[in-house]
Symmetry: C2
Amino acid sequence: MPLSGFTILDLSRVISGPFCTMLLADMGAEVIKLETLPDGDPIRGQGAMREGLSYYFATFNRNKKSITLNLKEAEGRKLFEKLVLRSDVVVDNFRPGVLDRLGLGRERLRQLRPGLICASISGFGESGPYRDRPAFDFIAQAMSGFMSMNGRETDPPLRSGLPVSDLIAGLYAALGITAALLRRERTGHGDIVSTTLTNGLISFLSYAASHYFATGEVLPRSGNDHPITAPYGLFNTSDGAIAIAPAGDEFFTRLMRALDMTDVLNDPRFANGQDRVKHREILNARVAERMSLYGNAYWIEKLNGAGVPCGPVYSVEEVFSDPQFADMAIEVPHPDRAPVRMLGFPLRFSEAQCRIRLPSPRLGEHNEEIYGSLGISRDEIEALRLRKVL
Amino acid sequence: MPLSGFTILDLSRVISGPFCTMLLADMGAEVIKLETLPDGDPIRGQGAMREGLSYYFATFNRNKKSITLNLKEAEGRKLFEKLVLRSDVVVDNFRPGVLDRLGLGRERLRQLRPGLICASISGFGESGPYRDRPAFDFIAQAMSGFMSMNGRETDPPLRSGLPVSDLIAGLYAALGITAALLRRERTGHGDIVSTTLTNGLISFLSYAASHYFATGEVLPRSGNDHPITAPYGLFNTSDGAIAIAPAGDEFFTRLMRALDMTDVLNDPRFANGQDRVKHREILNARVAERMSLYGNAYWIEKLNGAGVPCGPVYSVEEVFSDPQFADMAIEVPHPDRAPVRMLGFPLRFSEAQCRIRLPSPRLGEHNEEIYGSLGISRDEIEALRLRKVL
C-alpha cells in the first residue's frame, strides 16, 4: 500500500485531523492516535451511539491505534519525544501556539528527528489577525464566502448541512503530507505542512472567485437555478423529484425531444442559452408540467436514454440502497460486537487497494504495544498510568 | 518541490480533472495539457472573460503547458504513445471506455510504460448500472445525498452553489496520484487510481451517514440550525449578520455572559443542551433581540474576546478584502496583458512552497517545446498541424 511502513503520530481531535489521518491509514500508514484520559477524543461521545460506540468515531478512526498520553506532565512530553523519534509525521489540529507552549514546537521536533514532517490544520492559520480565534465549521463556512453562495437569492445565506470545511481541510492536509513524504523519499528533507478550514473553503469559491476577479462583481446566490443555464434544477415528478442539468444547446435539444416539447425548439423565446435564461419561468413551468405526468423511474430511464444528465434526489437511506453505491458502505468487524457499518473508500487503486486492517481502537488499547516498542515494560506502563502520565 | 521532475499528461477538461492537475502543478509537477482544435478545453470559453481570457480557465490551468493533439487520427495516437513514454502519470475525466475505444486503454498504456500511473475521474466509475451515464455536478449532488442534507427542513433539497462534487473528486484524485507516486518511488510499481463525483460526495456524508448506519434513521435537513445545539446560527445585527456556533455548555455560558443574558443561565428551560434545543425558538429570539442592538464589528470583537466562536457572513468581495485572507488572492503575470488575479494556495509548505512558474497557456503554446523534445522538427509540427493530427 502507498503509505505502508510510515508512522503518523496523531494529536488531532474531532473531525478535520482525524479525517486526514483516516485517509492516510486507509492507504496503509500506521496511525498512532494520542488521547488524554479520562474521555479521549471528544468525538467518542458524539453522534449516534449504538451499544456504547459512536459510529461517527468508529468511521473516522478505523485503521488506527490508540495510546493515552498526558502532555501536561514533563514525563509525558519526554515520552512524546521518544515517539517522535520512531515516527515520520506528526499531525495536530490544535490552535496555533499550543505545541510551542508545551515546549514541543515544530522546529524543535524537527531538530530532534531530522526528516520529520509536521502537519497542522487550524481555523485561520499561524498568522494574521484571527490567528488565535476559535474556529468551527459553521464560522469557516460564513467567513470563507461559501455560505454567501449557498441558498436562494431571496433567502439568507445558508450553511451546508455537512461539515465541508473540516472535511476539505482534512483532504488538503492528507494531500500535503503525502506530497511531503514523496519529497522526503527523494531528498531526505522533512517539511512543515499546514492548511486551514477557511482557506480550504475559499479555494472552493472557484467560478465565483474568478467572476469577481475578472469583473469586480459578486454573483448572487441562485438556489437550484444555474446562473447561465435554463431549464436546470429540481423538478417534481408524480412520485418524487429529479435533478436535470442539460448545459448547452445539444443537451437542451435532447431534453425537449425526450419531453415531447419539440415546439419549443422553434420558439424564438428559447432560441439560445441567453433567451432561455431570460424566459426561465415559462420554460421551467412547461417542463414541470410534463414531468408531473410520470414518476421518477420513468423519467430517469427516458432522459438518461436520451443522453440528458439527470438523477433522483436521494436521501441518505436511498444512497445506500442503490447498487451503484453498494461499496460506499462497508461492514467492519469489531471484537465483541456485531460488525459496524460505515462509509467505504472513495479513492480506488487497482494494485494498492485501501482496506480495513483494524477497527477503531478502544481508548489506550495500544499502550502496551506502542510503549512496549519503546522498551517500556507492562509494570512501568502501569506505574506511568498511576502517575497520570498516560 | 514535492512533485518536481514528474510529468503528467493531462487529458482532462472543464473542472474536476483540471483542478486535480492544478494542485499537482502548484506542487511542482510538469503538467502537459492535451487539447483538441479548434477550441481546446471548453472552459476556455466559460465563466467571466476579461480581454478575451476566461479567468476561470486561467486559475485552473496555471502552471501548465498546452499542446494540441487529435486522438481520432492514428498518427495522433502514435504521438500520444510517445508522450506516454516520457511521462509518469496520465489523467483523464472521460466517461469510462472512451480511451479503450481509442486503443489507449490503461492496461495497454501500462504495458507500454511500466511504472505508469493512470488516474481517472468519472461520474459513477468503471462499473455499476450507471457507468455510462453522463454526470454533472448537480446530478452528483442530487444522487450522493449531499442535497438531501442541504437546505431548510421545510424547503426542497438544495444544491450547493459551488461545484463541490468536481472539486472534491479533483482533490481525491490528486491525493491518489501523489500516493501512487510515493509507492512507485519505493517499489517501482505503477497503479490505476480512480475516483468519482458521486463517491467523493458520499464520503462527505460523515455524521449523516454514521447516524443512519447506527440507527436506521435519516436526519432531516436543518438549514442554519444545528441538530443538537442551540442557540446556533445566523443572527442579524444592526448592520449585518454574524454566525454563532457555541457548541457545549462552556461556550453557551460564555455567550450568555457576553450578551448580558446571565438570567438565562438560571432558567430551567435552558439548563442543558437538550433543553436548549427544545426551547430553541425562545432562546434564539432573545439572542436575536440582543444582537440587533449593535453592529457586526461590535459583536465580533466582543464575542471573540469572550471566546465564543463567531464570524461575519462574508460576500466573495469581503473575503478578498480581509487582511486575514490576503494571500488567498494572488496576481499572476501574463505576457502581453495585465497580471491576472486568481485564488492562491490553500496548502502551505514551509520548505517546498507552492508557487507560480507559468501562467495558463495559450492553446498549443507548447507544441514546439514538447514535440521538439520528442525529436519532431518545427517543419514536421507544421505538417502534422496541416494534416489535423495536432
